[in-house]
């Protein structure tokens, strides 16, 4: 009996040695897992997008998809769907080709990302919230909301050493994002009269 217990212990020990490092760590401290499925309400939006992306040149984003699906959707819904897209690039070739960012940001957030990244490339200060608000025809508070969402998606980060806007791009890849197949901060919205609007690449 004692010998059997020892054999069992040895087997468990050997099995833990054979596990990949990530899986071995999971035995001791369970990591916070990304959701494997969305609630029905958010899944409806995702289904709409995946169907849209199967049409030529289409890349309708979460914001417009929520609008087209109808019903009550919040910024939290957009964030949840956005994170799901980020964590599941195998969902659609569009995600792997153009990146999740372009599908989850609003036109205003893309505008801010485009202008701030260019300012950083040119070593120039970015426009102020008031200047963004004027160009985008929104309130400064709406610009602040857009910056907060860009921060939540880890695309921009606060930098209190920067006068004015107080935000910079979070990673170099968001500063130097332009190039073949990179449309991260680009937006082209089309509406044919009598039909729902869509976005193209």
């Amino acid at each position: 009996m004692k010998r059997l217990k020892s054999l069992t212990a040895l087997t468990v020990f050997l099995a833990s040695l054979l596990l990949p490092p990530n899986q071995a760590a999971a035995q001791t401290a369970a990591p916070i897992a990304a959701p494997t499925a969305l609630p029905d309400k958010q899944q409806k939006v995702l289904d709409y997008m995946l169907n849209d992306w199967n049409k030529p040149s289409r890349i309708t984003g979460v914001d417009l998809a929520m609008q087209n699906v109808g019903g009550q959707y919040s910024a939290d819904d957009r964030y949840a769907i956005g994170m799901f897209l980020r964590n599941n690039p195998r969902l659609h070739r569009t995600l792997r080709t153009f990146g999740w960012e372009t599908a989850v940001l609003t036109p205003s957030e893309k505008h801010i990302g485009r202008i701030v990244s260019r300012a950083e490339r040119q070593h120039q200060p970015p426009p102020s919230r008031e200047e963004f608000a004027q160009v985008l025809k929104v309130s400064p508070a709406a610009v602040t909301d857009a910056l907060k969402m860009l921060e939540r998606f880890e695309i921009m980060r606060p930098d209190l050493t920067l006068k004015g806007l107080g935000y910079r791009m979070a990673e170099d890849r968001y500063v130097d994002w332009e190039g073949a197949m990179r449309i991260t901060f680009m937006n082209h919205r089309v509406q044919v009269e009598g039909e729902k609007p869509f976005e193209v690449f």
Binding site: P107, H111, I115, N187, Q191, V192
Partner: protein, 50 residues
């Protein structure tokens, strides 16, 4: 623009885009492939599709 001058040439089509020069929003309305509205008015439009 290819869509406007080909597949959607018989439609009223609204496009919201942005300037390649300074990133400012551009709003365009086409009717039968012709520009009907343009904001800002200084926007230059190059229609593709031959």
């Amino acid at each position: 623009m290819l869509l406007v001058s080909s597949e959607l040439k018989d439609n009223v089509v609204t496009i919201d885009d942005s300037s390649q020069y300074n990133g400012a929003p551009i709003h365009l309305v086409f009717e039968n492939s012709r520009v009907k509205e343009l904001d800002p008015a200084t926007t230059r439009v190059f229609l593709g599709g031959g």
